[in-house]
């Protein structure tokens, strides 16, 4: 055996939980009896003195057979062989280590633990064995013991596949142990190291959602009458589309904390989204204005007032408010686009260029920004630039449509391509 490598197959199984099974081809972790056997950097050749000389031939043969079994994926054969070896030569750490790995590869995680422990007791420097001990502990639900191993070893693990598996196991254990801080840490590391991995992304969505649920439950248990609890309730109702109930809850928040920031803004937005009466507009405006009184930095409240002014053709007010919203919001391209639109409508197209160009720079994939900028250029007779922006609009619009089709296809599992016939002769 000359090289060391791992082939890992990941399968995602039912109920959203992830199990990792390794098909491990271990090249050289041990073997003292055959000089031709290579050594891994981590595993020292077991001492010949550990094996009685009368048994060395038998041990050598058994070891060769067991290794061969492991290589060809015959976990049962490997287990049988290494069990015998650990009895024949109990002082050889590598035999215990390999037995542990054979159990692991067979999915017998609980059985893998004792031999791994024994191997590490005999030779603490067996790093790979420590990895598998941590993984086995995690897989068999002994998260309290597993986590310290996983936490320590994850950053050092060179092999990406193993690292990923370890990270997933650590995350599950942290959640099981109700250690959200650790869970978030592992999520951050996994997201950093495997940003586009679907399993990692799925876990991120699930775990953050679970953490959110736990936190909210705790909130409702520990402070049921608090304004924060009412705010949480209101947000849930808002999400569920229960506009009237959400408004009622938000008003309760304000009763308990009249200066709670964000609440007046939400009320105003809900008023605009719900059934409209003759006074809805005025009520919504008052809410946004009150929001700004409490939180003068609220870019979104300022934005809403700007949009209301724009729709009412009050260009000067719209321009001023959009400008302020853009300044407050930092990277707020909607405000910049609104500002540009209002300036164009107010026949101030020349002033519209700067905010619209800024919007395009902030959000180059936003077709609306390109479209509005094209318009502004056209108003000023800057035809070449207008054409360029129109082309960019077409490209980003098309890209967006394709992205939408991809999402729909993913959700609904079907994709039909609309066609256009060739024009008649």
């Amino acid at each position: 055996m000359t090289s060391c490598g791992f082939a890992i197959i990941l399968t995602v199984v039912k109920n959203g939980r992830m199990r990792v099974r390794f098909a491990v081809a271990i090249c050289a972790l041990l073997l003292a009896v055959t000089p031709a056997r290579a050594q891994t950097p981590e595993v020292k050749r077991p001492s010949r003195q550990a094996i009685p000389s009368a048994q060395q031939a038998e041990v050598a043969q058994l070891a060769a057979n067991a290794m061969a079994a492991l290589r060809r994926g015959d976990s049962a054969g490997a287990i049988q062989g290494f069990e015998k070896l650990t009895k024949l030569a109990p002082g050889v750490a590598e035999f215990h280590a390999n037995l542990g790995m054979a159990y692991y590869s067979a999915g017998r995680f609980r059985d893998a633990i004792p031999p791994c422990r024994q191997a590490l007791k005999l030779k603490p420097s067996l790093t790979a064995t420590r990895y598998f001990l941590g993984l086995s502990l995690a897989e068999s639900g002994q998260c309290g013991e597993a986590l310290p191993y996983l936490e320590k070893d994850y950053p050092r693990l060179p092999d990406p596949q193993l690292k990923r598996a370890m990270g997933m196991d650590a995350l599950r254990c942290a959640m099981a142990m109700n250690q959200p801080d650790k869970a978030v840490d592992f999520l951050r590391w996994l997201s950093r190291d495997f940003p586009d991995d679907p399993d990692v992304l799925y876990l991120s969505a699930t775990v953050y959602s679970e953490l959110s649920t736990r936190a909210s439950q705790r909130l409702l248990q520990t402070a049921p009458g608090s304004y924060q609890a009412h705010q949480f309730n209101a947000e849930v109702m808002e999400y569920q589309g229960k506009v009237g109930d959400a408004i009622e809850e938000y008003r309760k928040v304000l009763t308990l904390n009249p200066n709670a920031p964000g609440i007046h803004y939400r009320l105003g937005s809900l008023l605009l989204a719900g059934e409209r009466g003759p006074t809805t507009l005025d009520e919504a405006r008052r809410e946004f204005e009150e929001e700004l009184r409490i939180d003068p930095e609220s870019a979104v409240a300022e934005y809403q007032l700007a949009e209301m002014a724009r729709q009412a053709r009050q260009w000067d007010e719209a321009v001023e408010r959009f400008r302020h919203a853009a300044k407050l919001g930092g990277k707020f391209e909607d405000a910049l686009i609104g500002l540009g639109k209002s300036l164009v409508s107010a026949n101030r197209a020349a002033e519209a260029i700067e905010p619209l160009e800024a919007a395009v720079k902030l959000a180059p994939d936003n077709p609306v920004a390109h479209y509005q900028l094209s318009f502004a250029y056209r108003r000023l007779g800057r035809e070449d630039e207008a054409k360029k922006e129109l082309a960019a609009y077409r490209e980003t619009h098309e890209k967006l449509l394709r992205a939408g089709q991809a999402i729909r296809a993913g959700i609904q599992g079907r994709m039909t391509a609309p066609q256009t016939v060739e024009p008649p002769e």
């Binding site: 920031p261 409209r276 039909t416 016939v421």
Partner: protein, 597 residues
Amino acid sequence: MVAPESVMPLTRRRFLESLGPAAFLLASPRRLLGQGMASRGVRPAPRPKFSGKPFPVTFTDVAPRAGLTTPVVYGEEYAKKYIVEANGPGIAFFDYDHDGWLDIFLVNGTRHEGFPPGQEPTNHLYHNNRDGTFTDVTEKAGLKHSGWGYGVSIGDYDNDGYDDLFLTHFGKNILYHNNGDGTFTEVTEKAGLREPGTRYGTGCTFVDYDRDGHLDLFVSRYIDLDLAKTPVGGANRYCTYKGVSVNCGPLGLAKEFCSLYHNNGDGTFTDVTAKAGILAPGGRFGLSAVAFDYNNDGWPDLFVACDSSPNLLFRNNHDGTFTEVGMEAGVAVNGDGQEQANMGVAVGDYDGDGWLDLFLPHFSDDTPLLLRNVKGEFFDDLTYAAGMAVNTRYVCWGVDFADLDNDGWLDLFHVTGTVYPEVEKVYPDYKFKTQRVVYRNLGNGSFEEVSDLCGPAVLESHASRGCAFGDFDNDGNLDVLIMNLSEPPSLLKNENRSGNHWLVVKLVGTRSNRSAIGARVAITAGGRRQIREVLSGSSYISQSDLRQHFGLGPAPRVDQIEVRWPNGQGEKVGSAEADQFVTIQEGRGIVKAERYR
């Protein structure tokens, strides 16, 4: 305390922003989940405070007593298997016998299963008896025809003094020559307008695009549709709406192309579509078509309202060709850069600045499009700013700018009705039949809805499609003729009590085409200038009165009438007293003035 903004996104908008470009799709769940029509899924804008000004117009449906009692047949009433049945036809006001009284042409449909021989539904021509009633003269006129009728436009293509009739079909389009004696002759093949196969014709407009004095013809088309291969309800994501299986399309089906036919001056036409540049922009789901001079250069341009695809504006290059400039002009998509389901089109100078503007009706959960013409250079989306975004619940079809109260400002009237009757069975609030909508022009660039003030006939629910505007009883008030699916038409008589003055102008070309289609009339009255253009087509694939109606407010006379004829020549006609019908003949001024009451 930490501001919530820094803890979590406060609004769906900001949350969606963080998702990147896909957020724009997620903002509209319908776009995400898929459906057959383009709709942004937006909420209506807040209604501004009502102006408090009275609107002295009510409408009365006089169709039953007028004798308009034959229902339109268009597939099954409450189940539309294919989109062909859901869209429905246009309707026309049409003075076929040139007696000065508007007659009515009703386009009809059929059913896939067919009818026993002799019982097929047919188009109808109704003669105006001048007493508020009409007589069905279809058979006598030779206009009996059964099929999936769609659009209708009127124009005297052979300049013999009688307006002819062109009909589009899902099937084969038809040209009828008006014989001048109350009868018509089908001349499609003879005119060179017969097409091979089945095509889905929709909007149509007569237009003298080369200003040679002969009316040419432009036809728009919708879908390349073979019913034998078309999926049915629920087959894919373009065949569901709100989770209910509905007829498929147009999204997911193949787009079609428009056609332009040059009038050879001898009763025949030549297809010049490719040569004229009409194919250049590619296929669309084309519906209503109208020719009008958007850039005031004296040459007619072509606009096509398209469903779920960018609208088309073909600018006339003056040399027999067109350049499609919809995107550059700002009419292809709305101000957010998104295409809409625009079925009909209204053309009119609603703000009185001398440039013809556009109004495009919409699908439900979306707003219409009010596009203000900015000196012929481009159009500005002023939908929200003008107060037109207050209704998003209707699917809207036939529409026009019309001065309903004769105050000198163009109001707006449109009809509605959804395309998915199946959805009402699951969602009772999503009605198949819905009301008409009236907006009053406030004279300051904005409108307010006054539907509730216009009487029960406006608030009645129907599945309407085409509508035409004209003064059928010659009382100086614009009436509205409406096509209702599976019902007789509505004829809404305008009971305007404002006391405002008016003038109706009929134009007759001599060097220009006889119908004067494409002529621009400008009047000055009470210190204000108003323009109108003689249009063939518009609304939703319908035809309104070719006479041009002006409301004058309190002004008792028109100080000046000017005409720019379709051949580009201008003519100052002089003044006229209010409250009458004047006929202006090219080169001769006012040749007739009549009062009918």
